[in-house]
Symmetry: C2
């Protein structure tokens, strides 16, 4: 797997300075790409940024070499696919909640970070045969900010999670860690409260109860996963989408989400109109059916409307803020209607419950394999050895713009 | 106790229509006030409103008579003191979260409600000697919207809670049910989270830990009680007050709160300034000491600043919205800092945990008796039989204006 015999050995930029555990021996300057073999170096490329800013300006493609002598607890990985998520872009821009450390580990001239939280890799070599992963296995990152936008990586075995690859496409495996996981975790953790007598804690929406949740950004990766997981777990969903450019496109998206299992799909215009209150009453049988949970990834007015749509003691969970506007919360909603407002950050949860995460990933992978959890529409971006840095950076730059007909995902070919 | 022998028997308006259980036998029209005796009627007055609006316009003083033949489970009560709380005024205005039922039970010509959530009454007669309260006992309402702004009441024995009156002033007993109770309950119910692994529940600030909480409106009844209870329980408080009219008055208030046990007192101006972040870092030893809980009774910018001042995974509890502005919440505070935002409504909690409420009231009464929980500054408003309706209504109307040198409290004299 290390050797790609058909690779052309044309001139390539090469790393001058090589630092850290990942690169065992410095390479002398050379003009040709080394072939890699059982004892050879692996040539790798990674998108990196050494300062925050717009992706098209700050992302560089850095080429380096990875030594074949792996530390005992390490694995050498080859990237198969890695999506471009809004959180990744925000991380590059510096507006995300945490910032990766800038290091010189892969020999960049300035300390840099590799973006990408999500992706799937194939194990090409391990430091020790007794490790729980083996050559040919597929793994996903077990830690936040793993840096998936690179052709190869050396990682500690504890930093990855093996998944059962049987029957999975790489693009499917690459997109489970963030979006379906977020949806899974929010639906599992929150719901109608057990009430003040239980200490104002949250309890899950009861599986099979037909209880409602409501979400904006329903067309997002998280939104689509929530629709499908909710349906599988016997919940019902009210889904808010932005109007598309034409009515036909809006109807087409509505049909798509309904096909996934959405019970109700409304446009944001409807949702923010005066009529929504009455429409909601109709949906919920005049309020007799409770809406215990709201998912917000937009913020601003849309978030306020989600909070208002909840039934008494409902919880609104924010996992994003695409509108870049704060949530305006009438105090009375909190006091008299007992609405609770919290946030969800997958990275935090991943850190705190590794066992729960493994269980969840296995569960999601099984659902995908069984065809019960469908992918979001993806726009594949080929990343081959020759792909130019600017092509990759432009794809990232475009990733925050709406209505693109799919989430961008790097699919690694000849690397 | 029913008879007040020194009462003058001058002409009084009298009830024509008498309805409901409270009034056993209709009274014929008469021009003199009846003396009450063991078998006599009790003459009573109540502030009532039959439509929402400004207190000075909609409050009327209604006179009626109470039959001496009480139902077995009922008690006849004489009011001793009843404060004027913002929630009472909002109820009259119709802006409160719940609305009392308008009834004709005390014979008003239009269906009406009696305002007043808080107060203390003396038991003057009981329907049965086996009831758990007896003549001479002091009781406080056990239910919301009891209607305390009246000279007398007939209540079901379950609607009141006996308190140990020994060593208490009536004004002290009258002011425990709402404000100290709210402070007690919020401090007991919320605090630094046990973390996502514990299901994102809330846990109490640990007693004796020296953990911080922060509150705006620190000069309010709830605020003062929170300072004192917090101090008693080994917590520390950061207290935000509005600037008074002169710097001297501000300093005087600061000294007053410090004397009660406030660790830090800041003005709203300081609190909303750019410098606050650094000042907060200084207070909390550069963030090493966590602020796990925020109390908000203001809303608007002040609430946002409370939320921002919290440490990771802190909870902001809103129990009021004096500024009448929604809370603006940056989504990142919820997601990355894991701030949780909830409301607290005492009425709801009272309904759901009667046993906990009794325990709490006894505890608070004991603290007051021992001098460990001091009253808010009160401005006593005498309510005697002759007191004019307009005098009472004006006191209520003025109750929402700030800086009055004390919370208004009706003190019942010759009624």
């Amino acid at each position: 797997m290390l050797a790609r015999s058909h690779r052309s050995l044309h001139a390539l930029p090469c790393t001058r300075r090589v630092l850290g555990a990942q690169i065992r021996s410095p390479l002398s300057q050379q003009a040709v790409r080394r072939k890699s073999g059982p004892y050879g170096y692996t040539q790798a490329k990674a998108l990196v940024f050494s300062q925050n800013g717009e992706p098209s300006e700050v992302l560089k493609l850095h080429t380096h070499s990875i030594s074949p002598s792996l530390p005992k607890r390490s694995v050498l990985l080859r990237a198969l696919a890695a999506p471009i998520n809004p959180a990744d872009i925000n991380t590059i821009q510096g507006t995300y909640g945490s910032q990766p450390s800038f290091t010189s580990l892969i020999g960049t001239s300035s300390p840099s970070a590799i973006p990408g939280n999500e992706g799937v890799f194939e194990v090409v070599a391990t430091g020790d045969s007794s490790l729980p992963v083996h050559k040919g296995d597929w793994v996903v990152p077990a830690v936040a900010q793993f840096g998936t936008w690179r052709t190869h990586a050396v990682a500690d075995v504890d930093e990855v999670l093996k998944i059962n690859k049987e029957g999975l496409r790489a693009t499917q495996a690459a997109t489970i860690s963030v979006n379906p996981s977020t949806a899974y975790r929010i639906l599992r953790a929150y719901g109608p409260s057990a009430g003040i007598s239980a200490g104002l804690g949250m309890r899950p929406l009861e599986v099979g109860s037909g209880q409602w949740f409501i979400q904006n950004g329903a067309n997002s990766g998280v939104g689509r996963a929530a629709i499908q997981l909710g349906r599988l777990w016997g919940l019902r969903s009210i889904n808010v989408i932005r109007e598309r450019e034409s009515e036909q496109e809006t109807e087409s998206l509505r049909a798509e989400l309904t096909e996934l299992g959405a019970d109700v799909v409304v446009t944001e215009k409807q949702f923010l109109s005066r009529e929504w209150k009455d429409q909601l009453a109709e949906i919920t049988n005049k309020g007799r059916e409770h809406i215990g949970l709201g998912l917000n990834c937009v913020g601003g007015k849309s978030a306020t409307a989600v909070a208002r749509s909840l039934s008494e003691s409902g919880t609104m969970v924010s996992y994003g803020g695409m509108a870049r506007q704060p949530i305006a919360l009438p105090v009375g909603l909190l006091i008299f209607k007992d609405i609770r407002v919290v946030g969800f950050w997958l990275s935090r949860w991943n850190q705190q419950d590794a066992a729960g995460r493994k269980h969840m990933i296995d569960y999601i992978v099984d659902l995908i394999r069984e065809g019960k959890l469908r992918d979001v529409p993806l726009r594949e971006v080929a990343w081959n050895w020759e792909t130019d840095a600017s092509v990759l950076a432009q794809e990232v730059q475009g990733g925050l713009k709406g209505f693109k007909g799919g989430k961008g995902i790097f699919v690694f070919g000849d690397t």
